[in-house]
Subunit: 407 residues, 2 copies
């Protein structure tokens, strides 16, 4: 029994619904996908619920479930994964937040939630705030792309059950963080103290003075949201016996991988946007497959087209995906297991994630040949009707690595 | 993202098995159902287990599960739902029973379990019994249709774990209620006291004297059965965010809806029998859809044909259902989600409920188009292979009302 390697390609949000602009087909049905279809004909195929039937998964909860971590146990909020995605050093129990640099007036009313989409100087703005202590809690903060940042609180007695400071709107005063359950009072207090302290430091910061002189909005406040506790995820390799890497553009998914011990592979031209270089991502897989047993690839573009409610664009993205997956297939060592699926559906009719199941196919040299075409409808005649929590067991099975239960 | 309304049509007991008298097809396969089939072609389709594979569901346990209430947690017996269906005021913790008026001789041997199917005077017969106290327990009793009634015990230290007084047979003495577990002794004692007290009041009641004079059997005893504790069901709207109504003829299902806070809509001509006016029920849906987010419709007739083991009649009932559902579909606002399924199978080869799964289809403007025909066999090529406990999550998904889990 030869132990195989596996490549898992997540077409983010590729699942969809019947669309009137596509003759009542889904984008996957409508698109011309000769490569995906060719692979489907040699694959075990079917449908997967990212969580369970009808449940609308986030990308984070779904990826956790796919990788073998029950999101009901490990997910308290998005913050920790965003922070990890920015390569912050985290410890289990840390409370982490996503943040925006924003602009407020003297009454703390939000004027711009993105501080004029500030692009430069955010590192400098945060320099005096990173590492400070409030009571017995140490604060870490790191800028992300443009107006984005992540905030981490480390200390005893903290809780993720606090409301957002970000009011998610302009023209309203920033919110005071509130404890959402008993025991979260301290976290709310520290967070509120930090926000006001940061405001004091930022409002007169030379970088902001300079911005104002140039007619730009000052980044004079930090608005945390999406509190979560950094979970203790058991190391992925220890759990599944697979030395693992990922080719992932979006910080959220990258963060999940980092916390799980899945090594990110940096790829030039992989942007997480429509313009991402899919062939570069596939080359990164091919170049690194010798060093790893398992490589996770996330391609974000289909999800963007779903959020943009643009079925034509989704079709076009899918046809580019088809080309890239065909390129990968043609160059993969024959014994490799290739899995193609999605983390959730993002229907163009909805403009957000939905609870509809996603197609999945598992290709191996000896996989049962069940498929005809790779789309939500055609795969229903296949054998798989699974939940994402079954994924790693299926991968271990098809790579001939599963432990036998019994004799 | 447009939030939609939903109509859920339960074709009671419509699921069936292969029948020799129908060329080894099921009644749904055999019947001519152009409307159901047309809807199936535009729907997500599949099979649903009312509880789990092979489990024979009652209408009550299945409807509870469909509406989001785990029957293993909330169902202790049929009594509470029958009592609620008769519009009795109930409180969580009350112990309720279904009852028959019956005829016994002087040795308390049952002569007729339905007291000659008594039609009149039952209200008068119960007048002096309703509201009485036995020890510290208050007794409420209300007549239903013909020989039927419901009994409620309210007080401290009561249990639903008592055996039936009704011996379910004639020519035998009425049974003494027995405690079925520790702690149920008091309930059994009170129930036995009540049955004898009622016998004392009824045997010489003027209405019974008059019946005997006319050669009719006296309704001289009340035989309780189906003990259950009134559960605390969380309000349906609070739980799912859907303001809900029901169009339901049978008291049992009506009672479940009432306890869950789902408002019954009264429909003239909706009898719960073969002769029910299905178009009147559909019109009631159409007239009330503006005021509600969710309307449950139960059509009882297919179940009756199953219990009667009459496959030809079941086919005929199904063809009437097809006409009515087609009428509804043609008149529903386009954005409405229409779900058609059953609460359980009642095969004509069995004459009772079976544990076979039931077909389901979910129609929305953008639902994936999976179906061909609406019957137990054709739907197997669709994506759904669910349990009734998934139903509300699926409805929330297709009405675009589900909460996102994660980001």
């Amino acid at each position: 029994m030869e132990r195989r390697k596996a490549v898992l390609i997540i077409l983010d949000g590729v699942g969809d619904r019947a669309n009137r602009n596509l003759d009542n087909m889904t984008p996957l049905q409508y698109a011309n996908t000769p490569n995906l279809d060719r692979i489907a004909r040699e694959s075990v195929v079917g449908l997967m619920d990212p969580i369970s039937p009808g449940i609308r998964a986030g990308s984070d909860t779904s990826h956790l479930n796919i990788l073998g971590y029950d999101p009901y146990e490990y997910y308290t909020g998005r913050g920790p994964f965003e922070a990890a995605g920015l390569d912050m050093d985290l410890m289990p129990g840390d409370i982490a937040f996503r943040c925006n640099f924003a602009t407020v007036n003297d009454d703390l009313v939000v004027v711009d939630r993105r501080a004029g989409r500030i692009k430069e100087g955010t590192e400098e703005l945060l320099k005096d705030l990173n590492g400070i202590w409030i009571e017995d809690v140490q604060i870490f903060i790191k800028p992300g792309v443009e107006h984005r940042a992540a905030l981490v609180l480390r200390g005893p007695g903290l809780s993720p059950a606090v409301s957002d400071v970000d009011p998610h709107d302009t023209g309203v005063k920033i919110h005071e963080a509130k404890p959402l359950e008993k025991g979260a009072e301290k976290t709310a207090r520290i967070l509120n103290k930090f926000v006001l302290l940061a405001y004091d430091k930022l409002k007169n910061h030379p970088i902001n003075k300079s911005r104002e002189e140039r007619g730009l909005k000052p980044a004079n406040i930090i608005l945390p949201r999406g509190a979560g506790m950094v979970p203790h995820l058991r190391n992925f390799e220890e759990m599944h016996g697979l030395k693992a890497a990922c080719v992932v553009g979006t910080p959220l998914i990258r963060g999940i991988c980092k916390i799980a011990g899945i090594e990110p592979i940096e790829v030039e031209g992989a942007t997480g946007g429509y313009d991402t270089d899919m062939i570069a991502k596939m080359n990164a897989v091919l170049e690194n497959l010798e060093r790893y047993d398992f490589i996770l690839v996330n391609i974000k573009a289909p999800d963007l087209a779903g959020h943009d409610m643009d079925p034509r664009r989704k079709v076009e993205v899918i046809e580019r995906v088809d080309h890239a997956v065909g390129y990968l297939m043609d160059n993969l060592p024959e014994e490799t297991v290739l899995v193609v699926t999605a983390d959730h559906s993002t229907p163009c009719t909805v403009g957000d994630h939905s609870g509809d199941p996603v197609p999945i196919m598992i290709h191996a040299p000896d996989s049962r040949r069940e498929g005809s075409e790779f789309n939500e409808i055609s795969v229903t005649t296949g054998s798989l009707r699974i939940r994402a929590s079954d994924m790693m067991n299926l991968i271990l099975n098809h790579t001939n690595r599963a432990e036998k239960f019994g004799a």
